[in-house]
Amino acid sequence: MALRVTLGILLTLVICAGIGFPLSQNPQHWYELPVIPGLEEKARLIFFHVPTAWLSVVAFLTGMVFSIRYLRKRDPLDDLRSSAAAGLGLMFCILATLTGAIWAKFNWGSFWNWDPRETSIFVLLLIYGAYFSLRSAVENQEKRSTLSAAYSIIAAITVPFFIFVLPRITSGLHPGSKGDPDGTGPVLQFTMSPNMRVIFFASLAAFTLLFIWMFQLRVRTGKLEMERELQQAP
């Protein structure tokens, strides 16, 4: 209950602030956001696009943790948790890819350029797709849980390799990638103005709460479905 209320309030505030706060060249008031040359109004996307990408990674790691637990204890609930997390991860991954593509179109003229960050979110999308393809291809429930758990662990292990390999892919357009003269980007370098930073981290927190809430809902629903199946079995 507390979670829902906090989430509702926080997310509403973030959305209002992110979309509503006016931009001005010389921010005087706390509710004014600076104008970033080249981005201007489009900068607002950072409050929404980055958290979705962040969540798709969080969901992936969550799924992997529950996969490991499933292989150890064979508790069907752990498999439920793993696939619930993965389902949310897939959704946020699609959102991140789409919002990223839209931003790319408005900023750099084309929807997709295979720069490192775009490529990595795409690879994550492929992994989610593979995970669900595997799940739908196995009829036996215990086998499905075991195989998808094994696959998510294997996929997780290749992520560090992929991150290492990223710089070899063409230097990117993304703020913060290799070819960007401004360095590693506004988030890591903390060049965001204080009030932008507040909204940004608040957004990150709000989205994380959103993930937790949706995750709990999905697990609860899944448990109910499992119980209903057991009762229906002859």
Binding site: Q141, M226, E229, A233
Partner: protein
């Protein structure tokens, strides 16, 4: 000095697609004893056999073989003949025996293999590919494969499947011989297959 061979099962429970197949299976079996597993079709006889063979892990309960430890224990202890266990049909019967011995990490005992093939009336066809065999011949070949490494525990699932009169007589003789020193576990619908048994698990009662 190794302890006498026993198999002890306690509280075995099996779940398949989240449905319980059986629960609370107990038995203890020692050398020269026979266990009969009976039940309707679908009661889980083959599932229990697979658990004893080490092919399936039970959802709960324990199954213990007394004796030595090591990574090849279950593979050395058990020989299984079952409808769902196929040989490599691109190879001949003798080649199957050679590969099976090699895959167990054991040397190939040619004399013993030939004896078995003769006993199962396959010696004349031992160099023909198994896919050319009749179903009765394939069943007899499975016996040769299961007995090659002289397992102390013999598991038979539907032992007389596909066999004619001669075949069933041979299998009865094998069962009698095995009972002299080893453990025999038989799963079948035909209670006539087993002349005597010391323990019985009736899966109809254990759902």
């Amino acid at each position: 000095m190794s302890e006498p061979l026993t198999v002890r099962a306690e509280g075995l429970r099996m779940v398949f697609n989240r449905r319980v197949i059986f629960d609370g299976v107990h038995f203890t079996l020692g050398a020269t004893q026979t266990l009969l597993i009976s039940g309707r079709n679908g009661a889980g006889k083959s599932t229990l056999i697979k658990i004893i063979a080490g092919l399936l892990t039970p959802a709960a309960g324990s199954l213990k073989f007394s004796g030595e430890q090591g990574i090849f224990v279950r593979q050395s202890l058990v020989g299984l003949v079952a409808p769902y266990l196929s040989l490599y049909d691109e190879f001949s019967a003798e080649e199957n025996l050679q590969h099976i011995a090699a895959m167990r990490g054991l040397p190939y005992d040619r004399d013993r293999a030939h004896d078995l093939l003769r006993r199962m009336a396959l010696f004349s066809r031992k160099d023909d590919a198994v896919h050319t065999y009749s179903s009765g011949m394939k069943q007899r070949a499975k016996y040769a494969a299961a007995l090659l490494h002289a397992p102390p525990v013999l598991l038979l699932d539907e032992p007389m499947a596909n066999l004619d009169g001669d075949g069933t007589a041979t299998v009865r003789a094998i069962m009698d011989e095995h009972r002299r020193e080893g453990l025999l576990i038989v799963a079948t619908n035909e209670t006539g297959d087993v002349d005597r048994c010391d323990e019985r698990v009736d899966l109809n009662a254990l759902r």
